[in-house]
Symmetry: C2
Subunit: 314 residues, 2 copies
């Protein structure tokens, strides 16, 4: 059986892409099944209810040599712990290529679009397969989620075209209202513990000398209600401090992204992070909070600037 | 400008793919140009004459940050020396994914087919572009070359279908005769110096612990006239010995592949190579020659067996 899964701390694209790609591969005759690598955020259950599908099961421990398909990620730090032992047969992703390698020639499909969903729609077209309503709504939701309804600088014309194509099949008449409902669901954080909030959309990145990289944890909370998250600054800083110590990280950042106003306020844990934010972004820190302006994309705006900042001098 | 190129020691697929992909990208509005990383083998000039196109120029030294498209390879050891400094925007390949990574999201297309040409034909179809006669003949030639006219175990049904589709466009009525003429051109080695013969289709592979790999040079001479190559054993062993010392390699292998009879006789340089060939393939060495039977594919039969043999014990 081919195990299909997205990254750790799955977001709507990671879950949607696993479901849609497994379904597509089954239609092409493969025994493929979708899985997840962690608990859902608050947006994805809303989407799955709207679509009327169950969340995929947690990926069980896989024996060495098991066949896998990765969606919406490729770096080992964001994947299953024993990825190096597994047989990566398929990858569909829209991130930069990291430390992935394959034991034999595989099917890899990477394009610089805003969402894996956009690429999966293309795969349907190329295979000459119609798009079914549930898959249409999963891809549509993922694109709206990943691009913050086209607000993110990662958005491409292909993402916009995909939403236009998918909306009628998905039965979504008012895309704007649907996106707002998704973002409201995501922002309804209730009494979620601070460490859960931190890790909800959180990835560890290696920076600097590839032989001896320093690891930074970077979390993002995309919300229509930033005041709520900012009000929990004390708890969240404590959770960041704990993650930094437990995981032996060089730094931890947590950005509070106001979806509707397209702003980023980032919690600053210590002098280390303050220095980096100042030097990499020119951001001043006040009361352990740095204003990163309109840099709302971790992938396109935060990580590339940090990679450049930490790059070994030639 | 986007620089499009295949691997070092280019074969017909590396050259053909660079020309065809650059042409395709130009038709899609990009300023793309084909290059080569080394001298041609004896088959490729025959193909270029048949097609009526010039060989691409040697790739000049590229400054850091230059945009490149890799075809028919992805591992840094087979590419331009300063690959890590370049901006890899496109990759089209049919090999396993090695140590490549990209600075930002890129367009990557890998499929486990027998030839890059097969994948490039698919890209034409997906882009809704017709295939022009010169490009058709370049792709057809590359597929016949890489699959040894479907004799190689790397051959897939897609490769066969591609040749069937391309032959009438390319104006090749008798594919069998055309392939034999290609192979005869390739086998007409004349008084080529032994070190040139060794390096004609030669790649360096890292084996064992990724942190401290041992490097093996593996050359293949595909020929319809193995007796000629076997008759130059002494010179070729001397060239192998020199390459081993100069490049600090752990081992060097040179396989003489009889295209028409589908057999592999491999020159054995020293006790090191003899032991590995014995233990990885069960091959006995006599008079510095090991019979590897019908293992005619370096990619599918030689390298995977060596990777398994050298794999660190769990």
């Amino acid at each position: 059986m081919l195990h299909v899964f997205g990254h750790q701390n799955p977001d709507t694209d990671a879950i949607s892409a696993a479901l849609v790609y497994a379904h597509l591969l089954r239609r092409q005759g493969l025994d493929a099944q979708a899985f997840r690598l962690g608990e859902l955020n608050f947006e994805t259950p809303f989407v799955l209810r709207e679509v009327g599908v169950d969340m995929p099961p947690m990926l069980p421990a896989l024996p060495a040599g098991a066949d896998v398909a990765l969606v919406d990620h490729n770096e080992s730090a964001q994947s299953v712990p024993n990825l190096a032992e597994l047989n990566v047969k398929y990858v569909v992703d829209h991130h930069k290529l990291g430390d992935l390698n394959t034991a034999s020639p595989a099917y890899l499909r990477f394009e610089p679009v805003g969402c894996t969903g956009t690429l999966l729609l293309k795969l349907h077209h190329e295979a000459g397969l119609s798009v079914e309503p549930q898959e249409a709504k999963l891809m549509l939701s993922a694109i709206l989620s990943d691009t913050l309804h086209f607000r993110s600088p990662t958005t491409t014309q292909e993402d916009r075209d995909a939403v236009e194509f998918l909306a009628p099949i998905a039965g979504v008449d008012d895309v704007e209202s649907y996106a707002l409902a998704m973002f409201a669901a995501k922002s309804d954080l209730g009494d979620t513990p601070a460490d859960t909030l931190l890790k909800m959309d959180y990835k560890v990145f290696p920076f600097g000398d590839p032989a001896h990289p320093q690891q930074w944890g970077i979390g993002v909370i995309e919300t229509t209600n930033p005041a709520y998250v900012l009000g929990r600054q004390g708890e969240l800083l404590a959770a960041m401090d704990q993650a930094k110590a437990e995981d032996g990280l060089a730094g931890v950042l947590l950005s509070v992204v106001d979806i509707l106003n397209e702003t980023n306020q980032t919690f600053v844990l210590s002098a280390t992070e303050e220095k980096v934010l100042k030097e990499a972004f020119g951001a001043e820190t006040h009361a352990q909070l740095a204003d990163l302006g309109s840099r709302i994309s971790r992938k396109k705006q935060i990580v590339p600037a940090l990679e450049k900042y930490f790059a070994p001098q030639a």
